[in-house]
Structure formats: structure tokens, C-alpha cells
């Protein structure tokens, strides 16, 4: 597992763990960024843009650091 910030654009990853605060994790899940789901990295330049299903989520870098993923 590695933090979301270390991924490259175009990569496909599995979300493994949301190690951020409880509130932040809840928000992420509500927006579709749930543990176990597959997501694609659209861009990663200090802030990360993540494609989850049909939604594009822009995630601030500090938060992205706490999202642990693994490659598919």
C-alpha cells in the first residue's frame, strides 16, 4: 500500500484505507471514494484529481497523503 500522492496520472488503483480523520473519511465515502473501489488517477500535482466511477474528485494534497491505495 502507498499514499495516493505517490501515484502517476493514468494509473488505476484500489482504494485500501482512508487514514484521515473520521469526518473526512465519511465525506470521501459519501462522494463515492469507498474502500475497495477502483479509481483512476487523472492528475497528480500536489493536489490529486481522482476519477471514481463517473465522478471527478479533486482532493487536496494533505488529504491525498492519508489515502492509501494499491495498484490493480
Amino acid at each position: 500500500m502507498f499514499p495516493l500522492t505517490t501515484t502517476k496520472p493514468g494509473e488505476k488503483v484500489h482504494i485500501c484505507s482512508l487514514s484521515c480523520s473520521m469526518e473526512e473519511a465519511k465525506r470521501l465515502r459519501e462522494l463515492g471514494c469507498v474502500e475497495g473501489i477502483c479509481a483512476a488517477i487523472v492528475s497528480n500535482q500536489s493536489n490529486v484529481i481522482l476519477q471514481v466511477g463517473e465522478t471527478k474528485l479533486a482532493i487536496n494534497g494533505n488529504l491525498a497523503r492519508t489515502i492509501l491505495v494499491k495498484t490493480t
Binding site: M22, K26, V34, N47
Partner: protein
């Protein structure tokens, strides 16, 4: 009397909720704020099958676990706990077909509320373009609620919803279809029995959702004000959470994960997706506009273009409005018999109205551009690109556009802060926005710099005058940044700043929506803020005109410049006006506050100017003109400049104005809250007098201290 039925529109942001709302209600709608908060409340009426319905467009939300203040209102209304809005009789949930899972999450929560639900599947066209086909009938069967597919842009599509509502009786869906696990059910029961039943009077239908709010996160607990009660609730919640943890569940995730499990079952088989993932146009645009380097450059270019257009397009309209009101004023003053009524109409009412209407072109052009940026989906990208920098200075990515508008005028800028969703970020942006050097400060800076700053070159390429100008703009920006950082520490918020946002896909803006928005903003400004501005204008007119002098013929100078030569040279109207102003309440007040403003290097003449310039900052120059009886012949500024320089103290013979007086005055203008229109719009946008009062106090205090420092230190050095 039978009450008309209420239909509430609920949905994620960007699902076409307002489009459907407009389609249902037409122009029969009322937009106002919810009492006490800056969240818009949209209510309209619609005739469906001969029956009149009240339609409420609730703030867009991702869930019923309210984080942001607008989501909290949505939850409270649906739960029936919001005092200003009863629970609806029917909920229409908008679900974005191109993003089904995420949208069904909110739907599954709404379905637990025991209120009849109709699902409207919006954006099926967008979904189809992306190769997603949704089987509405199947989803309807699995969920057990009616599902109506719709392209909200077309009128006949809205008719489908109307027909359904008038032709069917919709029952509340069966709650808890997502079948919570046993430990979660036990946890819910614990909370219901130990907290909700004994401590609240919520209707039974919302008990489960209310319990889930507490189990999921601490925020809902922190909202309980009574410390003792909060403590009691916390213990119950911890007991419930232990039940989950003992069976190896993550209490924060359990509800969300179970709901998503259920949703997945509903959509599997209902959605067919073409396997080939196409890179959409949205993706291609995003690759450029969210680029680390190109993104900010493109954003700044768009802003520059936007403000250049606002400036050059609004200018002719503003000149026209100005001319119109001056002409009307002249006409009225000539037509009506001289006297108080004439003066009140011309200098109070007409000038005051002119002061209101003059802002309209800028406001409407700014909102034209903002509506387009919002409508296309670019605004979210701009906020994303600027967020890093803005967060560092204590603001939000979305604060950029309002702050930049502040360089033209604070009024449209403050109105534009509506695009900032987070309440705290919005308040802080509003509170620091008037530090941006607006165009009304220019005339004051110009006259003072021309009169007192030597036109010497500095380091070869710069002039001292130019540097002073730059310094004043810079001072405003730096102060705004510092103030924002300080306020971030002071204004605590239970809502975490948005760290995550959705980037909606690009689309053409809906032009009817854009123009509706533009005219609505204009209307709101004129009717709401206009009242206050007009009122203060009349008060200021009164202060500057009374008590009246004995002498005859004392009407204001500007209106009869041509006739100056008919009077004897030492009895010009300008001097009459000057005497009139000196003896007025404003004049007396200026002299009264002289001891207070003395440490800043200001005398009573500037004191008068400080009071009258509250109508608009540039009035300062006009007031000084009047006081110094500057004749309107030749170069006005040149004449005033000379008068200011040569004014000497009658006792000591020293010049009254020095470089340090001028600098002190400019610093005061840069920092002080010298604008009633801003106060009025802050009142309107925050819905209370508290924030304008805080703004006036802290800005003016800051200005006072800084000006005093400049003057005292400066004078001591020289």
C-alpha cells in the same frame, strides 16, 4: 382551510435541480435567504393536475449527515425539525444518471425518512453520450419507488413528472431496505431508546437517520450546546459504537459501506456500460486547465479578460446613468420652486438613487461572467487551481474571483462570495474584501499624491508618485491577507473546510439561467441594499445642509456653475456653498471630532470630508473642493492642489498639510470602512447587522492606528 401540498426537490449539487425547479414553477418563484444564515431559500408554486403545489428547492447535498450549513438545512427540513419550513408531503430526488452510485447514496437515505419519494433520473443524455445506459424500470422495481427518466432541459420532459404526480398516489417507500447489519441495528436501537426517545420530540420516522448521524461521526454530538447533555449523549454514542467494534465493524464506515453494498446490488444489471473507456472532451480540457503551471496562468488570463471587459463595457453605462441623474437633478431643481423640498429631492433623493443605480452595470456584468464560469463547470477548476495558495493565506479557492472584483468595487465582489459554499470562508472573504483598493479610492489617492508626493524619479525607472500608488494597492492586499489569517484563528467553525470537491463535467451554460441570475442579482441589489443606501444618503444630505444659513440663494454650487459671473467676485456661490457646509451639522461635527483626528494629522476640514465621503469615497474630493471654494474654471484638480498646499495654520503660520498628512490620509482611506454601500450589502448578504458592525469597527480602528503611526513617526523623523 386546506393547506397546499409541498414538494421538496432534493439532490446532489450539479444534478440539474434548479433547472427542474425553474421548469416546474416558471417565474412564480421567490428567492430569499433562510433566516439567520447565508443559504438561499428557493420557493415557488406550480399547478399540477389542477391542484396548487408549493415547490421548495432544498440546498444541494451529498448526504443527510450534514456537514455544511446548507446540508444541515436540507436535513432539518426533511426531518421536520426546521421551524421555518414544514416537512414536505412529497420528495422528488434528482439522480444524475451518469453517476448513479453516488447519487443513489443520498436517495437511499431519503428513502428511510417515511415520506413519499419520486426519483427523477436526470442527465440520461449525458450518460448515454458516455456509453452508459440505465434501465429505469429495473431500478424502480428494485428500489420500490417510481423512477422517471428525464432530460430536464426540455419542457415536455418536465410534463412527465407533472403527469406522474397528478395521476398516481405515491406511498412512502419501505425504510431500511439496505438492511443494516445486526450490530448496527443494535447500535441504532440503543441510541433511539436511551437518547432520542427521552430527549427529543422527533417524529418516529426520522429516529433511525438521527441515530445514524450520531454513530457515524462526532460532529452531530458537538452541535449539542448543553455541555451536560452533550456529555450524556457522548456516553450513549460510545456504548453504541462499542457494540459495532466488538463485532469487528468500523463504526464510522458501517452505514456508508452497507448502503453502497445495497446500491451496488440495485445497479448491477440495471446499468450497461460500454467497456471501452473513452477520453472525453472534459478530460482533455481538464488536462490543460488544471495543469500545475498552465492552470493558474489560464485562470489569471481569464480573470484579466473578464475585468477588462467589465471595466470597458460598464463604463459607458455608468456615464450614461451619471448623466441621466445629473440632468434629472438639474431639471428638477430648475422646475420646482427653491427651498427645502427642492434640495431634498435633488441632493438627497435623486443623488442618492443615482448612487444606487450607478453600481448596476458592474454588478450585472460581473454576474454575467460568473454565471457563465459556473454554468460551464470551469469555476470548480479555478477554485481547485487556486486552492493551494488561497488556503495558505486562510481563504478558499473560490475567494479569488470575489477578491479580484474588489479592485473594481467591493459591492459586486461581496455579492459574488455566494459561490463560496463554506460559511466561514465566505464570511472571512467578505470581511477582508473591502481592503482591495476599489476604484472610488482613486480620485482621493490621485489628488493627494499630485499635491504632496514629489514627482522625483526613483532608481531610474520608477517615480515616487508611481511607487506611492503601488504601495497603497500593496498595503490593501497585505492587510487583507493578514486580516484573513487572524480571522481564521478567531472565527471557529465546526465545519471542516472543504478539502475535497467534485469537478462537474463541462457543459454549455443555460442562457436563460445566466440572464435570470444577472437580473435577479441586479434586482436584489436595488431593492435590498438600495433602501439602506438611499436612507443614509438622505441623512447625509440633511447633515450637510442643516441648519440653514440666513443668506438667500444658497443652492449648491455644482448645478449653476455657468452663472458664477453674475455674482460679485467675493460672493460667489462656491463660497456660499463653502460657508453653508462649514455651518452645517456635518461641518460642526467635523470640528467636534477634530481633537480625535488631530493625532492623525487631520484638521476639521478633512473631518467633514471623512463624514461626507461615507456616501462614496470619491465624495471626499468634492467636499474639499467645496470647503476650499475651488472655482470650477480650468483644471479643478490643479486648483485644489494649490489650495491644499498653501493652506496655513492661522496661529503658527505652518502649512497644515505636509507629506505626512497626505500619507496618513491615504492610509486611512486604504484601510477604513468608508462606504455605506458596502455596509448595506454586507447587511443584506449576511442577514444581520452584526457583521457590518464588526467590519466597520475593526477596519476603522485599524485605519486609525495605522494612520496615526504614519503621521506621528513620519513627523518625528522629519
Amino acid at each position: 382551510m386546506s393547506r397546499e401540498k409541498t414538494i421538496a426537490l432534493v439532490g446532489n449539487p450539479n444534478t440539474g435541480k434548479s433547472t427542474l425547479f425553474n421548469g416546474l414553477t416558471g417565474l412564480k418563484q421567490k428567492i430569499a435567504n433562510y433566516p439567520g444564515v447565508t443559504v438561499e431559500r428557493k420557493v415557488g408554486y406550480a399547478k399540477i393536475g389542477g391542484e396548487k403545489y408549493r415547490i421548495v428547492d432544498l440546498p444541494g447535498s451529498y448526504s443527510l449527515n450534514p456537514k455544511q450549513i446548507d446540508e444541515r438545512i436540507t436535513y432539518q427540513v426533511l426531518a421536520g425539525t426546521y421551524e421555518h419550513e414544514p416537512a414536505p408531503d412529497l420528495i422528488v430526488v434528482l439522480v444524475d444518471a451518469s453517476n448513479l452510485d453516488r447519487n443513489l447514496y443520498l436517495t437511499s437515505q431519503v428513502m428511510d425518512l417515511g415520506i413519499p419519494v419520486i426519483v427523477v433520473l436526470s442527465m440520461i443524455d449525458v450518460a448515454q453520450d458516455r456509453g452508459i445506459n440505465v434501465d429505469a424500470d429495473r431500478i424502480s422495481k428494485v428500489l420500490g419507488v417510481p423512477v422517471i427518466p428525464m432530460v430536464a432541459k426540455e419542457e415536455r420532459e418536465v410534463q412527465k413528472l407533472r403527469d406522474y404526480i397528478s395521476g398516481h398516489k405515491v406511498d412512502p417507500p419501505k425504510p431500511l431496505q439496505w438492511s443494516p447489519s445486526e450490530p448496527l441495528q443494535k447500535a441504532i436501537e440503543t441510541l433511539i431508546n436511551k437518547w432520542i426517545k427521552p430527549n427529543t420530540n422527533l417524529p418516529e420516522r426520522v429516529w433511525t437517520i438521527e441515530a445514524l448521524r450520531f454513530i457515524g461521526d462526532d460532529q452531530a454530538i458537538n452541535l449539542i450546546n448543553d455541555i451536560k447533555k452533550q456529555h450524556q449523549l457522548r456516553e450513549i454514542v460510545e456504548e453504541a459504537r462499542r457494540l459495532l467494534e466488538e463485532s469487528g465493524k468500523n463504526y464510522a464506515a458501517e452505514e456508508v459501506l452497507s448502503r453502497y453494498d445495497y446500491i451496488e446490488k440495485c445497479t448491477s444489471g440495471s446499468v450497461t456500460e460500454s467497456s471501452e473507456k473513452i477520453e472525453t472532451i472534459s478530460d482533455k480540457i481538464d488536462a490543460v486547465v488544471t495543469h500545475k503551471i498552465f492552470g493558474p496562468i489560464i485562470f489569471v488570463m481569464i480573470l484579466l479578460l473578464m475585468f477588462q471587459s467589465i471595466f470597458s463595457w460598464a463604463e459607458p453605462f455608468m456615464n450614461l446613468i451619471d448623466l441621466l441623474f445629473i440632468e434629472t437633478g438639474t431639471w428638477v431643481s430648475k422646475t420646482l420652486p427653491e427651498g427645502i423640498l427642492n434640495d431634498l429631492l435633488v441632493e438627497g433623493v435623486i443623488a442618492g438613487l443615482g448612487g444606487v443605480v450607478i453600481f448596476l452595470p458592474q454588478i450585472m456584468f460581473l454576474f454575467f461572467f460568473i454565471s457563465i464560469l459556473e454554468g460551464t463547470g470551469y469555476m470548480a477548476r479555478a477554485a481547485f487551481v487556486m486552492d493551494g495558495f488561497m488556503t495558505r493565506i486562510g481563504l478558499h479557492g473560490r475567494s479569488v474571483v470575489p477578491l479580484m472584483s474588489g479592485f473594481a468595487c467591493a459591492i459586486p465582489g461581496i455579492m459574488a462570495t455566494r459561490t463560496i459554499e463554506n460559511w466561514r470562508d465566505r464570511i472571512i472573504t467578505i470581511m477582508v474584501l473591502p481592503f482591495m483598493a476599489c476604484s472610488a479610492r482613486l480620485p482621493v489617492y490621485a489628488i493627494m499624491i499630485a499635491a504632496f508626493i514629489p514627482n522625483e524619479s526613483f532608481l531610474g525607472i520608477f517615480t515616487l508618485q508611481g511607487l506611492t500608488f503601488f504601495g497603497l494597492y500593496f498595503l490593501g492586499i497585505v492587510t487583507a491577507i493578514i486580516a484573513a489569517r487572524v480571522m481564521k484563528q478567531i472565527i471557529k467553525s465546526d465545519i471542516p473546510s472543504p478539502f475535497i470537491m467534485e469537478l462537474p463535467s463541462y457543459k454549455m451554460p443555460k442562457w436563460s439561467g445566466v440572464f435570470y441570475n444577472v437580473f435577479d442579482r441586479g434586482r436584489v441589489f436595488v431593492t435590498e441594499a438600495g433602501k439602506i443606501i438611499l436612507g443614509i444618503s438622505i441623512v447625509l444630505w440633511f447633515l450637510a445642509s442643516f441648519p440653514r444659513m440666513e443668506s438667500q440663494n444658497n443652492f449648491v454650487a455644482e448645478q449653476s456653475v455657468e452663472n458664477v459671473n453674475e455674482y460679485s467676485p467675493d460672493q460667489t456661490e462656491q463660497q456660499q456653498a463653502s460657508n453653508k457646509l462649514r455651518q452645517s451639522y456635518a461641518g460642526q461635527f467635523g470640528q467636534f471630532i477634530e481633537p480625535v483626528i488631530k493625532p492623525l494629522g487631520f484638521d476639521w476640514k478633512i473631518g467633514i470630508g471623512l463624514i461626507t465621503s461615507f456616501a462614496a469615497r470619491e465624495v471626499m474630493v468634492g467636499t474639499l473642493n467645496t470647503i476650499y471654494s475651488v472655482q470650477h474654471e480650468g483644471d479643478e484638480q490643479m486648483a485644489l492642489r494649490e489650495k491644499l498646499r498653501s493652506d496655513v495654520d492661522s496661529e503658527t503660520g505652518e502649512p497644515i498639510y505636509t507629506v505626512w498628512t497626505a500619507l496618513s490620509l491615504m492610509v486611512f482611506f486604504a484601510l477604513a470602512m468608508q462606504c455605506m454601500s458596502t455596509i448595506a450589502i454586507v447587511k443584506r448578504e449576511t442577514n444581520s447587522w452584526k457583521w457590518p458592525a464588526v467590519m466597520f469597527t475593526y477596519m476603522t480602528a485599524l485605519a486609525y492606528i495605522c494612520s496615526m503611526l504614519v503621521y506621528q513617526v513620519g513627523s518625528a523623523i522629519s
